[in-house]
């Protein structure tokens, strides 16, 4: 007799003692494994398809968590359907265990799963969106059963529990659209030619290789009067939200070069000497 057979018999008898067919458990494991593989394949296929088109990337990635929840939901139904044909005694025992588990150890996990379901139904954000949750800002790269993964600008993966959507403010920069508004601030001296400075910033915005402009996505240049300088604030949309930072850098770099070329002064910050010298 092999070790496996020797180990299998006590396990089988243990299942028989609680009234569960070992074949049923085997089927359940197979179904969950199949569900896991299916979600991985579906997520990989949807990601590959989404990355082919910047325009539809966010829309397509929205289906990844949806598929995951759907597949796991069906798998759980298939697994628990036969298992939950319980006697009254078994039902009481399972209910008690479940209540205790959720109440003590699994409360956060359960809240995360419920939060995930809320994310799927209400969609405060989707995979591909740029969001800020509880001070962390980045692109949503995954919505899991328990937590959402944000990838920040410095390529750090931040795991935010799905339950945070119940208690924290969620700021979504693009709300499912592939384009997003980017704000670029440039400071000029108070004696600078403000008309020319705003014209430069406007040109830098609309000539950028990353910009997206139409009637619904206009360009705006505003001026703020600060204490020692003026801020020229340019607002424009990027065609692909992943270009947010490189767009801001491109506009800033070309605006500053044009300021220098045209003699538009940038402010000297007044230094207050506190030591009396």
């Amino acid at each position: 007799m092999t070790g496996t057979a020797r180990g299998g018999r006590p396990l089988q008898s243990a299942f028989e003692q609680v009234g569960v067919d070992s074949a049923l458990v085997g089927n359940a494991v197979a179904v969950l494994l199949a569900a896991y593989l299916l979600t991985r394949v579906a997520a990989a296929a949807l990601t590959a398809l989404a990355e082919r088109s910047p325009r539809y990337r966010v829309t397509l990635k929205m289906f990844i968590p949806l598929t995951r929840f759907l597949v796991y939901g069906v798998a759980l139904y298939v697994v628990l359907g036969p298992l939950l044909q319980l006697s009254a005694t078994q039902l009481v025992a399972v209910s008690g265990l479940l209540a205790a588990a959720i109440g003590f150890g699994l409360r956060d996990l359960f809240a995360g799963v419920v939060g995930g379901i809320v994310l799927i139904t209400e969609q405060p954000y989707q995979v591909g969106d740029k969001v800020e949750v509880d001070g962390d800002y980045g692109e949503v790269t995954d919505i899991g059963l328990r937590a959402t993964t944000l990838t920040t600008a410095d390529d750090t993966a931040v795991r935010v529990p799905n339950a945070a959507t119940f208690t924290k403010n969620v700021a979504n920069a693009n709300d499912g659209a592939p384009e997003m508004l980017v704000v670029v601030d440039l400071a000029v001296a108070t004696d600078a030619d403000l008309d020319e400075a705003t014209a430069v910033v406007r040109d830098a915005l609309v000539t950028s290789k990353f910009v997206f402009v139409d009637d619904d996505h206009p360009v705006a240049v505003l001026v703020d009067d600060e204490t020692y300088y003026w801020t020229v604030r340019g607002k424009a949309y990027v065609a692909d939200l992943r270009d947010e930072f490189v767009f801001a850098s491109d506009v800033t770099e070309r605006s500053l070069a044009a300021f220098e070329e045209r003699g538009i002064e940038t402010p000297d910050i007044p230094v207050e000497r506190l030591d009396g010298r």
């Binding site: 088109s53 910047p54 325009r55 609309v206 000539t207 290789k209 402009v213 065609a239």
Partner: protein, 353 residues
């Protein structure tokens, strides 16, 4: 305009391009190419502006090589106007395009071609355009202007240029029958048409069925016994299928269709011979941006590309030239006619404005 010899031919002012290419004329030169063929429903607006029923200035918008120069020829004839052709120029060259434009506006009717050269996509690059639009607003002369479609769509988005033009017409795709007639007029209608012959037809033919649309189209190969695999095309006239395919691939653009047609050097033209020489390019953002600039200008100086694209422009232009999308000559980079559909599709996919 009547010149010194008393001829009533419209005068032409060349602004910097070689005489044989400055107009961008690559479309069939035939009387069959009339305004209705090119403009469709917009022909009425075009005629109304020329006859004075509708106030101008008029903007004629067309994709590269689509034949809009024929419309501008017709406008110059009808208005007896001075003809100005703008082109890519060195920044220091005099007179500047806008100076020529403004000067001509004072002399009476004027037709200006290639107005996409009035701007450069850089900080300060819109000043000539703004100056020209200001001059346009002050003149009482009748003015017809020609614009590249991609430059026009960019300028309407970022500069609201359409507000300066009470009337705008845009060329549409030329119908298959008209395209066949025009190409036969230009290249001769004595070609033979046929189908590709399979010496020994296989038992099974694999036919691809398209699922989905656009970028998400999925081609599913399905093996079918050859005897049941007839598409119906084989029973059709090969000539009709050739021109349908030509019209579809060129998107009704006569210049593109001419380029594909000129590649047909065999005795017999088969539908399977009608292909775009450049059908698939995979560009990054920098390359797509550079290509979009060339697509919107049709011809652009290297100096302008360097100012707009940056230090990488040489490398990018070399790559685009290798792919057959652009051609390089004497400090100029020009768009290849047959690459227009591919360049437009790829830059649209990358969402480059």
């Amino acid at each position: 305009m009547t010149d010194a010899d008393g001829d009533s031919e419209p005068s032409t002012v060349n602004t910097g391009l070689p005489a044989d290419t400055d107009s961008g004329t690559h479309t069939p030169d035939t009387d069959a190419l009339d305004t209705e063929t090119l403009l469709g429903d917009d022909a009425e607006t075009f005629e109304a502006v020329l006859s004075g029923e509708t106030a101008g200035p008029l903007a004629v918008v067309a994709p590269p090589f689509a034949g809009h120069e024929r419309l501008l020829d017709a406008a110059a004839d009808a208005l007896d106007a001075e003809r100005i052709r703008l082109g890519p120029r060195g920044r220091e060259e005099k007179p500047t395009p806008v100076a020529r434009f403004r000067e001509a506006l004072g002399d009476g009717p004027v037709v200006v071609e290639n107005c996409q050269h009035l701007y450069e996509r850089r900080v300060g690059g819109f000043e000539p355009l703004e100056s020209a639009l200001d001059a346009l607003a002050r003149t009482d002369s009748r003015v017809v202007t020609g614009w590249n479609r991609y430059a026009w769509s960019y300028l309407t988005a970022v500069r609201s240029v359409e507000g300066a033009f009470p009337a705008t017409v845009e060329t549409g795709p030329v119908a298959t029958a008209a395209m066949a007639e025009l190409l036969a007029d230009r290249y001769g209608g004595d070609r033979e048409y046929g189908w590709a012959e399979a010496a020994d037809p296989p038992l099974v033919t694999v036919r691809a069925y398209e699922l989905g649309r656009g970028r998400f189209a999925l081609s599913v190969p399905v093996p079918i016994p050859t005897r049941f695999a007839s598409s119906g095309d084989e029973e059709r006239d090969a000539e009709a299928v050739v021109f349908e395919r030509l019209a579809a691939l060129s998107e009704g653009n006569l210049g593109v269709a001419s380029a594909i047609w000129e590649d047909q050097t065999g005795d017999v033209v088969r539908p399977s011979d009608i292909v775009l020489p450049v059908s698939d390019v995979d560009l990054d953002r920098e390359e797509a941006f550079c290509l979009r600039v060339v697509l919107a200008k049709e011809r652009v100086t290297r100096a302008e590309l360097a100012a707009v694209v940056g230090d990488a422009h040489d490398r990018i232009v070399a790559r685009l030239a290798r792919d057959g999308v652009v051609a390089r000559e004497d400090g100029l980079v020009s768009l290849e006619r047959s690459a227009v559909p591919t360049a437009a599709a790829e830059t649209d996919r990358r969402r480059v404005l």
